[in-house]
């Protein structure tokens, strides 16, 4: 089944009105109102002086041409009249009329639409995130994806990209929701990730192929992320950040929201820590996320790395010291003659996947 003409025209209309929508920016609730309007009302609301011409163009827009453009971009449109449309999105009052899908639609269907599909989790956070937070996002996403829980995120720099990468490392169960056309790699720095997501996972957007990202498209995209996920996890967010928009949307929908505790007194974590203060679920690791979704203990992560029994005793001692907070080479040595041995041990643990080296030279446990 292909997308119906009306929904397809709505999708392309959003692209045509994208510039006009910029005037709505800054009035967040108003944006949601506007997105919920019918085509005519939407043109009237944001069209300004060009209203009549836009309406005239819209009336005469050619659906065949649109279908041809979609086919040329190797994309599929899934509209709200389609059985494949993710039912969770229907809870949104301003649900997108159509989702343009790059990558495999079957995967999207099996993760979000199938009655057999399990719960989905959104992992969002700051673009300018600390390295620790990115490690957390990546690890949680990897474990969830391995456990068969698709990870939804927005492919922004920082936390979003880390979540997608983690999910790709796991079971590759991940959906990227973009603020541009699904074929447009924004931010450009993540174009490799974008390509990999299309190839191995799914990239969706309510904007047609070729649409460029604008300021209003990001809060609009956030509502889709929140709509697709049963649980939204904010990993690290400052106050008044886009991640909090996603969290608010999720709360409005009555979905679960969780946050990863961050460093206190740091401005970069005020938003996510604020969510915790307000009573959101505390997510320390992937097990907490699974408990939140399926009930405590109902499902467990592979516990792949928790098992240290097979390790050489000396390595296990080092790993335990790292877990106890001795995260640097210096903290593990008492004498300069030990440096070589400690480095060899840490390198070995890193090779085996128990620890990861951060940019500033610390070793953190990977699981």
């Amino acid at each position: 089944m292909t997308a119906c003409g009306a929904c397809l025209r709505r999708g392309f209309l959003l692209d045509r009105l994208s510039g006009h929508m910029e005037t709505v920016r800054g009035k967040r609730h108003y944006l949601r109102e506007v997105l919920a309007l019918s085509d005519e009302d939407l043109i009237a609301a944001v069209g300004g002086r060009e209203r009549a011409r836009l309406q005239f163009e819209h009336d005469r827009s050619d659906v065949t041409l649109m279908r041809r453009r979609l086919a040329a971009a190797h994309m599929v449109g899934v509209c709200r009249h389609d059985d494949r449309y993710p039912p969770a999105l229907r809870d949104l009052r301003d649900a997108p009329a159509i989702l343009f899908v790059a990558g495999s639609v079957e995967r999207l269907v099996s993760w979000t639409t199938d009655p057999a599909a399990t719960a989905t989790v959104a992992i969002v956070g700051a673009r300018r995130a600390s390295e620790d937070a990115r490690v957390v996002a990546r690890t949680i996403a990897r474990d969830l994806s391995l456990a068969g829980v698709p990870v939804i995120s927005g492919m922004a720099m920082g936390i979003d990209a880390a979540a997608h990468r983690g999910a790709l490392e796991g079971g590759a169960q991940t959906v990227a929701v973009l603020g541009s056309g699904p074929d447009v790699a924004y931010p450009l720095g993540e174009r490799r990730l974008h390509g990999e997501l299309i190839e191995r996972a799914v990239v969706v957007s309510e904007l047609p192929p070729g649409s460029t990202a604008r300021k209003w498209t990001f809060p609009a995209r956030n509502r889709i992320i929140a709509g697709l996920a049963r649980l939204t996890i904010v990993v690290e967010a400052a106050e008044r950040s886009g991640s909090l928009i996603t969290a608010t949307c999720a709360q409005d929908l009555g979905r679960d929201v969780g946050a990863v505790p961050g460093r206190p007194m740091a401005s970069g974590t005020r938003g996510s820590n604020g969510l915790l203060r307000d009573g959101c679920a505390v997510i320390r690791d992937s097990q907490d996320a699974l408990d939140q979704l399926f009930g405590a203990g109902a499902r467990t992560t592979g516990a792949l790395l928790g098992d240290t029994g097979a390790l050489d005793p000396a390595l296990r001692r080092t790993l335990e010291e790292v877990r106890a907070g001795a995260e640097t080479i210096g903290a593990l040595c008492t004498d300069s003659s030990q440096v070589g041995g400690v480095m060899a041990a840490l390198g070995e643990l890193e090779f085996l996947g128990y620890v990861r080296r951060t940019g500033e030279g610390r070793y953190v446990t990977a699981a």
Partner: protein, 481 residues
């Protein structure tokens, strides 16, 4: 010299210093109690198409005038080189590049060089060459007339001794990663990049490198002394034994770094020959300057072609660089830089020079529990370094480069064979961390040095693992945790 109005002309493409020699020569001859001929004097500096620079021709010009006017025997000038500047009062002053001139004198088959007293020891570094180190023009004349003999060199006052080799490595608290990196770099001649926020001791660590490097070999010492003499950095006394340590400011231009100008002068990379070139705040250097460094680092020499003739300067040095992890310098977790800023910063680092960096260490603020950890003392570190160099030297007799950093790909395969376990470790890590072929070679090179420091012939998986601790992905900013 011919009759006519008294005049003194110097021809042969001299620079301003050569032209002004007229006044110095005239005054010096008169003040030495000799006679300046009242005739038309023309001095020709041959070959006429080669530009002559500097005041070193003064003494030779003066003696030529004296010989032409019959005040000293012409024959006495035949087997002597004369190289000194004259003061107006007739004293001899030392010039730059005495060692190079003395060596050229020897090559030209002359028996003796006459230099200023302060330059005597430097000229005497050349074997089988008579050195006459004299104080004034009057003495030179006596010497040329055969009235006296050159004073014994031993009577010359000793020059200032070399400054101490910098602070001791043992004073460093914490920073085991960087201290280890420093020792490995010294042992294998590897290039090293230190990355960390300001105030963590990157510069402090780099300054301790000369103290753990082995002394110059006699041949290397002669090279270094010659370069320093030409650049006017040498005290004009003994052979330099210590490896040079050059730390140019980041505002340096490309030609300041690799050499340039007309006539070409050596740049910092040449002044650091056989020693260390330290670039602090690497990302602040102008891109053209860093780009210009690539070829010299690869070839070990710089060829500078200007309008006249190409000049080739040696430039085999260790590159040690330090940089902030991001533009604001605070680093994780306090960094306030925007992601694009960080990317730009990382790109500048990864661009031209990173390929030449065998070792990358991160330098962080030491934690409380690290502050009691001392680095090994410079003396014990140097022992390790010497032991590793000894093994490399031994290998080099079978045709390899002087140190591990200079091994070619084929030599590396021959001298750093990996058995199956270390090979598997290297391959698997490189695939997972997306390390390039060149990166693999770097790891192998460093593993070879680590094994050399332990005095072991075969590289084990542990050596590879330790070498992998210095790989470059700490700089991968845009690509996530």
């Amino acid at each position: 010299m011919r009759p006519g109005l008294p005049a003194f002309t110097i021809v042969g493409l001299g620079d301003a210093a050569v032209r002004e020699a007229r006044e110095r020569v005239r005054a010096a001859i008169l003040n030495a109690g000799l006679e300046f001929p009242l005739r038309r004097v023309t001095a020709n500096l041959a070959p006429a198409d080669l530009r002559k620079i500097g005041p070193g021709f003064d003494l030779a010009l003066a003696c030529a005038v004296l010989a032409a006017s019959g005040q000293v025997p012409t024959r006495s000038l035949g087997a002597r080189a004369l190289y000194a500047e004259l003061s107006l009062s007739g004293e001899l002053r030392p010039c730059r590049g005495v060692l190079a001139v003395a060596e050229a004198t020897r090559r030209a088959g002359l028996d003796e060089i006459v230099v200023a007293r302060a330059a005597g020891r430097e000229a005497a570094l050349v074997p089988d060459l008579g050195v006459a180190a004299v104080a004034g023009l009057a003495e030179v004349v006596e010497l040329l007339r055969g009235e006296t003999v050159a004073p014994e060199l031993a009577s010359l006052p000793p020059g200032p001794s070399e400054p101490p080799a910098g602070p001791d490595l043992g004073e460093v608290r914490g920073q085991p990663h960087a201290a280890e990196g420093l020792m490995i770099a010294a042992a294998g001649g590897h290039n090293l990049l230190m990355c960390g926020p300001p105030g963590t001791g990157k510069t402090m660590l780099a300054r301790r490198l000369p103290g753990i490097l082995p002394e110059l070999t006699p041949a290397e010492a002669l090279d270094v002394t010659r370069i320093q003499s030409i650049a006017g950095l040498h005290s004009g006394q003994e052979l330099t034994r210590r490896r040079p340590f050059r730390a140019p400011h980041h505002t340096i231009s490309a030609s300041g770094l690799v050499g340039g100008g007309a006539p070409p002068r050596p740049g910092e990379v040449t002044l650091a020959h056989h020693g260390v070139l330290f670039l602090d705040e690497l990302s602040e250097f102008a891109r053209p300057a860093l780009e210009a460094l690539r070829q010299p680092l690869e070839d070990g020499s710089v060829t500078i072609v200007r309008a006249q003739r190409p000049a080739v300067f040696p430039a085999r040095c260790m590159l040690v660089a330090a940089t902030n992890p991001c533009p604001c310098g605070r680093g994780e977790p306090d960094c306030r830089c925007s992601p694009p800023d960080r990317l730009r910063h990382a790109r500048k680092l990864t661009g031209p020079l990173l390929d030449r960096m065998d070792l990358v260490c991160s330098v962080a603020h030491p934690r409380d529990d690290e502050r009691d950890l001392c680095a090994p003392s410079s003396a014990s570190a140097r022992e390790l370094v010497l032991q590793a160099r000894e093994r490399q030297l031994h290998r080099s007799r079978t045709g390899a480069g002087a140190c591990n950093a200079q091994l070619t790909g084929a030599e590396l395969a021959l001298h750093a064979p990996l058995s199956s376990a270390p090979m598997r470790r290297l391959e698997q890590t490189c695939i997972r961390e997306r390390i390039s072929m060149r990166g693999r070679e770097r790891v192998r090179r460093v593993a070879r040095t680590i094994a050399d420091m332990e005095g072991v012939a075969d590289i084990t998986a542990a050596h590879v693992t330790r070498a992998l601790c210095f790989r470059q992905d700490v700089l991968r900013v845009g690509e996530d945790a």
